[in-house]
């Protein structure tokens, strides 16, 4: 049969489809056996793909990704994509692949082994109201801007606020017992807020339920093997959640957020004492709500005093990683659901977060996406 130099064959199509990733699972659709059939005839390509579940919220994204990847190939005139749904057996095989296959012993999370390439950082504080969640989302955004894949666990189960601050709503897709985290600008995130019937519902649980929720967040969520940093937004203090995190994770680090007033130092120190008891390394201190600049060029007003962050860092013998200025733009960005680092990446507060991210990447190197 005559073939023009531009003719395309099935092998080339499959090779190209290998570049197409499932938008939720972050793995090639070919590797996940989601491509069931490919037919090529006179430049017309027909792809039959299967979705994990029929109600896949990103079905159109998958179709669009397949189409645009194949249309970029020379010799392709037309692309037709048809979608089906995996059988229970196919879905089980996919779950096995996500968990690392039989050789991985069915492990579900990339950071449950001490030699995991994922760097886990728990963001802690002694008392509440110091802006820990704000620091977590902005740090996640800054690490993402630097090119890393980032996940965020909202472990502040009673006082969850990450969904609002990251502007993420909806329910995670569940493929059998594996939960796929929601995503915002490449930041993968899981929160108890995604599981509640109503966003304003309260979580009224005792310790064992909290422990189970955290185990689920860590062990049942498909974070992906490519995750460079996992940030955990802890509740304030040294209670059940902090202990559970320390017991579940074989290797993690801690960042301590405090405010500048000296009275906060003693309270923040308790978080560090807990870190020492559970063998978590404290990476440094972030002082939040430092000087407020009322007008450009005006001297900063130290509403919450000064020196607390440095004093805490000195006591703990760790670096003071940043003094984040008290800037209403940080609060406004959080209320709008876009971290300031993404909304205005070049402002002074965003720069401070980006510098912390750079120092963390230096101190705890991870692979760039």
């Amino acid at each position: 049969m005559f073939r023009s130099p531009q003719a395309i064959d099935r092998g080339q199509v499959l090779a190209a489809l290998r570049d197409v990733e499932d938008p939720e699972l972050h793995r090639s659709i070919v590797d996940l056996d989601m491509v069931r059939d490919v037919r090529v005839r006179d430049g017309r390509v027909e792809v039959s793909a299967v979705l994990t579940i029929g109600a896949c919220p990103l079905r159109e994204t998958i179709v669009e990704r397949i189409r645009s990847r194949l249309q970029a190939l020379p010799g392709v005139r037309e692309v037709e994509v048809s979608l089906g749904v995996m059988t229970p057996e196919e879905r089980q095989a996919l779950i096995g692949k996500l968990r690392g296959g039989p050789a991985a012993g069915g492990r579900r999370s990339p950071f449950l082994t001490p030699d995991s390439p994922t760097q886990v950082i728990a963001v802690a504080s002694g008392k509440g109201g110091v802006g820990k969640s704000t620091v977590t989302v902005n740090l996640a955004a800054a690490l993402r801007l630097a090119g890393f894949t980032v996940g965020v666990i909202d472990a502040d189960v009673y006082g969850f606020s990450i969904p609002r601050m990251l502007g993420v709503t909806g329910r995670p897709t569940v493929i059998d017992q594996v939960i796929v985290p929601l995503e915002r600008d490449g930041i993968r995130v899981i929160s108890i807020g995604f599981m509640l019937p109503h966003a304003d519902d309260a979580v009224i649980w005792r310790g064992p339920m909290l422990h189970k929720a955290l185990q689920t967040f860590i062990q049942e969520v498909h974070w992906g093997d490519d995750l460079a940093y996992l940030l955990i937004d802890l509740p304030p203090g040294t209670g059940d959640v902090a202990i559970s995190i320390a017991q579940i994770l074989p290797r993690s680090h801690m960042l301590i957020v405090t405010t500048p007033q000296p009275a906060a130092v003693e309270v923040a120190q308790r978080a560090a004492k807990m870190a020492a008891k559970v063998n978590m390394e404290v990476l440094g201190v972030i002082e939040n709500m430092a000087g407020f600049v009322p007008a450009p060029g005006a001297p900063p007003v130290e509403i919450f005093g000064s020196g607390g962050g440095q004093r805490l860092a000195d006591l703990l013998e760790v670096p003071l990683l940043a003094q984040i200025p008290l800037d209403p733009a940080i609060r406004e960005a959080g209320d709008r659901g876009t971290p300031l680092v993404l909304a205005a990446p070049d402002g002074p507060a965003a720069q401070a977060f980006r510098q912390v991210a750079a120092r963390l990447a230096e101190r705890l190197p991870a692979r760039v996406a």
Binding site: A246, Q247, I248, L249, P250, A276, N279, E281, E317
Partner: protein
């Protein structure tokens, strides 16, 4: 930065006659299984007999754990044949207080103590 605690680099088999742990600082600890069980640090055992180290029963119970698990980055958990599994043994307790190696026992005896805190 404060010094980190010693961590196990090798934990011996539960089928061995005694428990052995090689630590990141090079120390090699040995323990009688029964002494570990008698020194369980869980809340119930502490309420019953006080904090470890406790006076050991004579004779020691002859048992071995069914399983040893690592807890986070700071402790080991032993699952005993009677189903007791709530004791989380922090590494400093194992390394500095409960170690029964010859050197640690000699030092403890020199201080007139039993299996009291011993530091290299």
């Amino acid at each position: 930065m404060p010094a980190r605690m010693a961590t196990p680099v090798e934990v011996g088999s539960i089928t061995a006659p005694e428990c052995t742990i090689v630590w990141s600082d090079g120390h090699r600890s040995t323990y009688r299984w029964g002494a570990l069980r008698a020194n369980c640090p869980c809340a119930v055992c502490v309420q019953r007999g006080g904090h470890p180290p406790r006076p050991l029963p004579d004779p020691l119970p002859a048992l071995r754990p069914m399983q040893v698990e690592r807890v986070g980055a700071y402790a080991l958990r032993f699952v005993w044949p009677d189903g007791h599994r709530t004791g989380i043994y922090p590494f400093p307790l194992l390394r500095e207080v409960l170690c029964e190696c010859e050197a640690c026992r000699a030092r403890a005896a020199g201080r007139g103590g039993g299996a009291g805190p011993v530091l290299d």
